[in-house]
């Protein structure tokens, strides 16, 4: 438990909580990027450099932009007058709190030993090797999935466009 970890954890949590609680959706997305960036920093802290930068590249660079676009396209940027929470927010919060309680209980119970680890760096080269050896099938499936997702999302997004020339 280093100070760095605590700072980053606080940052990440602040970002995620703000992302879930803010009124203006654009603010939510901006807060979310903060949360993502914090997570990326945590990955770096854990020695997963590649994943950390990938996190920023994909989440901050692409997913957040995508979310922002959808907000702009659905005119949700102007904060609604009514409550931002749905009518069953109490139930939702209770469920979430319960889930957290269970998880925390499980984590605390398992009582991992506080071991001192040698510094491990997941270099890119081994990742590449692993990807091209043990994970070729997942990679191809991933490609299929991405293509399918792209086609699906495009069809969804341009659905009406074809009807009205």
């Amino acid at each position: 438990m280093t100070v760095t970890f605590l700072i980053l954890a606080a940052l990440t949590l602040a970002g995620t909580v703000a992302a879930m609680a803010m009124r203006n959706l654009i603010h939510c997305v901006l807060a979310l990027t903060l949360g993502f960036a914090g997570l990326a920093a945590l990955y770096l802290l854990l020695g997963a450099q590649f994943v950390g930068f990938t996190q920023i590249l994909v989440y901050v660079g692409a997913v957040a932009i995508l979310a922002v676009f959808v907000i702009m396209m659905t005119q949700s940027a102007i904060p609604a007058m009514q409550s931002i929470f749905s009518s069953f927010w109490v139930a939702g919060s209770v469920v979430a709190a319960a889930v957290f309680a269970v998880l925390a209980w499980a984590i605390c119970r398992s009582g991992f030993a506080s071991q001192v680890l040698p510094p491990v760096e997941a270099a890119v080269h081994p990742i590449g090797d692993a990807l091209m050896h043990g994970y070729v099938l997942p990679l191809e499936i991933m490609g299929l999935l991405l293509t399918a997702a792209m086609i699906g999302a495009v069809v969804l997004a341009m659905h009406e466009k074809r009807r009205t020339p």
């Binding site: 699906g152 495009v154 997004a157």
Partner: protein, 103 residues
Amino acid sequence: MSPLTGYLLLSALIFSVGLAGALTRRSAILVLIGIELMLNAANLNFIAFWRYGPNPQALTGIMFAIFSIGIAAAEAAVGLGIILAAYRHSKTTELDQMNSMKG
């Protein structure tokens, strides 16, 4: 408390925040974002377990995380596309209004 516990607790917290958001927010976009957060919490777990696991050289956690990020991105694209399509239909991104304007 061991470092791993810290990461796991943080991950659990992020997961719960995402879950809470997904369950309580009215905006469909935010619900989706909540789900993304939950996926991210899982990623954090993967990485943490990889780091503190018995065999960090195996890279399994890393590979999982990478594929998970890819899947999350695909999910976000499709999810947001669905929201966009739903918005066309009902002129709103608020979930309960979408419900009430069925058809």
